[in-house]
Structures are given as structure tokens and as C-alpha cells.
């Protein structure tokens, strides 16, 4: 039979599944890096997080009688990103609770993939931060790179160590600030050999993954450049005026700026559709992040900055260009 379909007839071959699996591939270097820096437990927590995200999604779609779409991989990404946001020293149920909240409350009740207002992984992190603040901020361990340690929660050889950002927040005197500004610290931050959340430490590995997505066109570099760039410029100005004690390179390499700016702000669902909107989205997020870091109550502001900008997306989307020849 001859089938008649309306134009367009050329398919780009891109679909949700393809994009999602590319993002998972792009996150793999950082995941391998996390195992290298923090041991097998990093992988264990990530797998737990992914599994609970998938199971939550499956059960929700089953119970509500929707078409099951768990194979499209979007829940896997949420699971990985959520695990990347917790300390390797967390109890096993922490990523499980976070994933369930992320998928159930932040994603599925809003209508599932494509309808969620907030990035599910970040909403899950905000939930964990509000519910178990001590587990989310007080259990950092130093990376023991190379020596792949075991799965146990309290690693005997793992030394608890404050993250660079919490040192900055504590303001423990001139020598600490000097060590934060040292080239050695910047190098450690770039390669990832510092304490922190599972997936956020290595700027290099995250950049490799993100570069792949930018080339493929599955993430917009404008958001990332706007976000990381505005953090660099804003904290640079503050550094020049001696308001910020640490240099702008420290600000963009430390904490979750790379993870957030490259993988979470660029989430296709929760970012604006227009180019101009994306620049504003990234820029606003960067400013909020620096404000929280320097004057807020938390050492890190990436997650809240992106969540706040997520709320502006519907507003930014109204700036769509006028239809040519359309009525005013």
C-alpha cells in the first residue's frame, strides 16, 4: 500500500533514546574517575541510585497505567547525576531515597519526561540537603587515588577531610586561603584529586564528556559558557576588589560548577529553548552561585542556583522571536 504522510519527510535520526544514551556515555569518564579517586563504593552507590530511579519510574508508570518508557534512559541519567551529588561515605539508603524523590515527586507527578519544571537530580539533592544535612555536608573523605578501596561505608584508611569549598566557608586564616590559591590546589581541582561529591571532583573528565555532547549537539554550549563564564567574571571582579579571597579559577574548578554547568544546567527539558534565553539562563545561574558561595549559608551554591533559574525558564521562553509577518 502506498502510505501518504505530511511533510517533513527527512528524519534526522535523533530520538530521545539516542540523546539519553549519549549523555550516559558522556558521564562515563567522570564515573570511572570517581571509582579511581574514591574506590568501588562510588560505583556501588551510583548503581544503587540508578536502579532505584528506574524501579520508581517503572512502578509509577505501571500503577498509573501509563505507557512504560523506562528504556529511554532518562531515569538512568537522573540516577547517575544524583549519585554524583553525594559523598562516597554516605549510607546506602541515601541515594535510594534521593532517587525515589527525584523520579516520583520532581519528575513523574509533573507528567514525566518533558514536563518536569526542575531538574530531577537537583531536586533530589535539595531534598537530601533539607532532610539529612549532616550526611550531605559533614562526611567528606580525602580521595585515595589509585588504591581501589572496598565497599564499606566507613573506610578505615579513608581520612576525613574538609572540601576546598568548606575550607573557604570556614575562613580559617591567611595560610588556608593561600593554600587554596596555590597552583597545586588548582591542579588537584582540575584533575579531581580533592575531597568532594562522587562525580564532581574532576573538571577534566567532566569536560571531556561535555565536549562530546557539544559536538553532537545534544547540549547547548551557550548555557555552559554562560554559567561557568559568569562565575569566572563575577568572582574575578570580586577578587580584584578583594571581596572574594580566592581567585576566579578556584571558583570555576572547585565544587560542582563543572558538573552543574556542563550536565545539569544543560538538561534539555529544564532549560530555555531560545539562544538568548539560554545565555540569560546561564548567566543568572552563575551570579546566584557566586552570591551563595560568598554570602550564603552553604559552602556550595551550584544546585540552588540552577534550581532557581529552572523556575525562570517558562518566563525566558516567552522571549521567543516574533513570527515573521505575524500580527502584533
Amino acid at each position: 500500500m502506498l502510505q501518504l504522510t505530511p511533510a517533513p519527510h527527512i528524519s534526522s535520526g535523533t530520538n530521545t533514546k539516542k540523546i539519553m544514551y549519549s549523555v550516559i556515555l558522556a558521564l562515563t569518564p567522570a564515573l570511572i574517575g570517581s571509582v579511581y579517586f574514591f574506590g568501588w563504593r562510588a560505583l556501588f552507590l551510583t548503581i544503587l541510585s540508578v536502579l532505584s530511579a528506574e524501579v520508581t519510574e517503572y512502578l509509577f508508570q505501571k500503577v498509573t497505567g501509563r505507557e512504560s518508557r523506562i528504556s529511554n534512559g532518562s531515569a538512568v541519567i537522573t540516577g547517575i547525576l544524583l549519585a554524583f551529588n553525594i559523598s562516597v561515605n554516605s549510607p546506602w539508603w541515601l541515594p535510594v531515597a534521593g532517587s525515589i524523590f527525584a523520579i516520583f515527586v520532581a519528575k513523574q507527578v509533573f507528567g514525566g519526561l518533558g514536563y518536569n519544571i526542575f531538574n530531577p537530580a537537583l531536586a533530589g539533592r535539595a531534598f537530601l540537603m533539607a532532610s539529612w544535612p549532616s550526611l550531605m555536608t559533614g562526611r567528606w573523605i580525602a580521595p585515595n587515588s589509585g588504591t581501589l578501596s572496598g565497599l564499606s561505608s566507613i573506610t578505615l584508611d579513608g581520612v576525613t577531610q574538609a572540601t576546598p569549598l568548606s575550607l573557604l566557608k570556614l575562613h580559617q586564616g591567611e595560610s588556608v586561603i593561600q593554600s587554596l590559591n596555590s597552583p597545586g590546589m588548582l591542579k588537584a581541582l582540575f584533575f579531581g584529586n580533592v575531597g568532594g561529591c562522587i562525580g564532581e571532583t574532576s573538571a577534566l573528565l567532566l569536560l571531556i564528556g561535555a565536549l562530546y555532547l557539544f559536538i553532537k549537539g545534544y547540549a547547548d554550549w551557550r548555557i555552559s559558557v554562560g554559567y561557568i563564564g559568569s562565575i569566572f567574571i563575577f568572582s574575578g571582579i570580586l577578587y580584584l576588589f578583594r571581596v572574594s579571597p580566592v581567585n576566579p579559577l578556584f571558583h570555576i574548578l572547585a565544587g560542582g560548577v563543572m558538573l552543574g554547568g556542563l550536565f545539569m544546567a544543560t538538561d534539555l527539558v529544564t532549560s530555555p529553548v531560545t539562544r538568548k534565553g539560554r545565555w540569560i539562563f546561564g548567566f543568572g545561574g552563575g551570579i546566584i552561585c557566586v552570591l551563595i558561595r560568598l554570602w550564603g549559608g552553604y559552602p556550595e551554591g551550584v544546585s540552588y542556583s540552577i534550581l532557581l533559574m529552572n523556575m525562570f525558564v517558562p518566563l525566558l521562553d516567552r522571549m521567543a522571536p516574533k513570527v515573521y509577518g505575524g500580527l502584533k
Binding site: P91, V109, A130, S131, W132
Partner: protein, 202 residues
């Protein structure tokens, strides 16, 4: 008349359907005991304000009705406030400013304006009972959910009973603090509304 009573609990449920009187609902349902106390206090005010307003509905002038409603409601709120202070001082401290605020609870004013003012005292009484019971049930359920998840205990009565440890010691020590914070209130109310609508549609 029994129809009015049942409608008050389900079809006109103050929180899940009419969505009025949410302020005390979100604020005091951090524990089941607080929710129950608030629900009963509001129910008392609701029953008597409905009854009095309905009885006097023919002499209350139309253009002065709202101030008169408020005065009648405030009378019963004062009664409740002093009773709580005298007999359950712990609860009175826990509920705090939200007891005097029952005066401006739009749920109670809403029923006075929307029901009692144009129905006979018998119906108004049944409406007050039904609405009050519906309100109390939801407050108690919300308090139960938030207390169990947020503190790991159930039915803690300050100064008298330390509560049941529902999921054991380990859960109590690392409970979901978010649930007793304001976002937990919004989440619980939203989920209850969703579930309620799911069953009502069937």
C-alpha cells in the same frame, strides 16, 4: 440532613476539595496530636458559629454580616483558647498563635457565609459537624504522615507520652526532616489531594 453531614466530610471537604483554611493546616500538622487538637478546636468553633449565625440569619443585616460573623466566631475562639490554656497547656503552647487565628480562618468564615447564612439551624449544625469532622480527619492524617516520616514516631503527646517508634530506632535517628519543615506540609497536602481526586473520579 444526613446528606449535609456526609457532604461536609467528602464532597465539601474543607482542605481536599474547597482548599480553604490551608494556613493552619500547613502550620500545625507537624504531629498527629497537634493536628487532632487543631481540628477539634476548629470543629467546636465551626459548629457553634454555624448554629448561631443560622439562628440569627433573619435579623443579621446583609451589609453588616461579615463583621457580625467575625464577632460571633471570635467569641467561640476565645472560649476554645482559654479552655486549651486551662486544661491542655502543652497543646496550647504548641498551637500557639494559630488558635487565635481561627477567627480569620477562611474555612469557618466560608461556611458561615456560604452555608449557615441561608440554611436553617438544623442543617447548619449538621454542616458544621460534617465539615469539622472532615477537617479534623485530614489534619490528623497529615499529622500522622508528617510525624512518622519526619520524626519516626507517632502520637507523641508532649509531657505525657513519648510516642510509638513506628519503624524502630534506626529510622528515628535519621528521619526525613524535610517532612516536618514547611515543604513537607505542601508535599503531603498535594499528595493527599491527588490520591483523593483519583478515588473520587472512579
Amino acid at each position: 440532613m444526613s446528606r449535609t453531614f456526609i457532604d461536609g466530610i467528602i464532597k465539601n471537604n474543607l482542605i481536599l476539595v474547597l482548599a480553604i483554611g490551608l494556613c493552619p493546616t500547613l502550620a500545625v500538622t507537624t504531629s498527629a496530636y497537634n493536628g487532632l487538637g487543631m481540628g477539634l478546636a476548629a470543629t467546636f468553633v465551626l459548629i457553634f458559629s454555624n448554629l448561631i449565625i443560622s439562628a440569627f440569619r433573619n435579623i443579621i443585616p446583609d451589609n453588616l454580616r461579615i463583621p457580625i460573623f467575625i464577632v460571633i466566631i471570635a467569641t467561640f475562639v476565645t472560649v476554645v483558647d482559654y479552655t486549651l490554656k486551662a486544661y491542655v497547656p502543652f497543646l496550647s503552647v504548641q498551637l500557639g498563635v494559630f488558635v487565635p487565628l481561627i477567627v480569620v480562618n477562611c474555612g469557618i468564615l466560608g461556611r458561615a457565609e456560604g452555608f449557615a447564612y441561608d440554611h436553617s439551624p438544623g442543617y447548619a449544625l449538621m454542616d458544621g459537624l460534617g465539615i469539622g469532622l472532615g477537617f479534623t480527619i485530614i489534619l490528623f492524617v497529615m499529622g500522622t504522615i508528617r510525624e512518622i516520616l519526619g520524626q519516626g514516631i507517632w502520637l507523641k503527646i508532649p509531657g505525657m507520652f513519648s510516642g510509638f517508634k513506628v519503624f524502630g530506632e534506626a529510622f528515628t535517628n535519621s528521619s526525613v526532616i524535610l517532612m516536618i519543615l514547611p515543604p513537607g506540609g505542601f508535599l503531603t497536602i498535594a499528595l493527599l489531594m491527588g490520591i483523593f481526586n483519583l478515588f473520587r473520579r472512579k
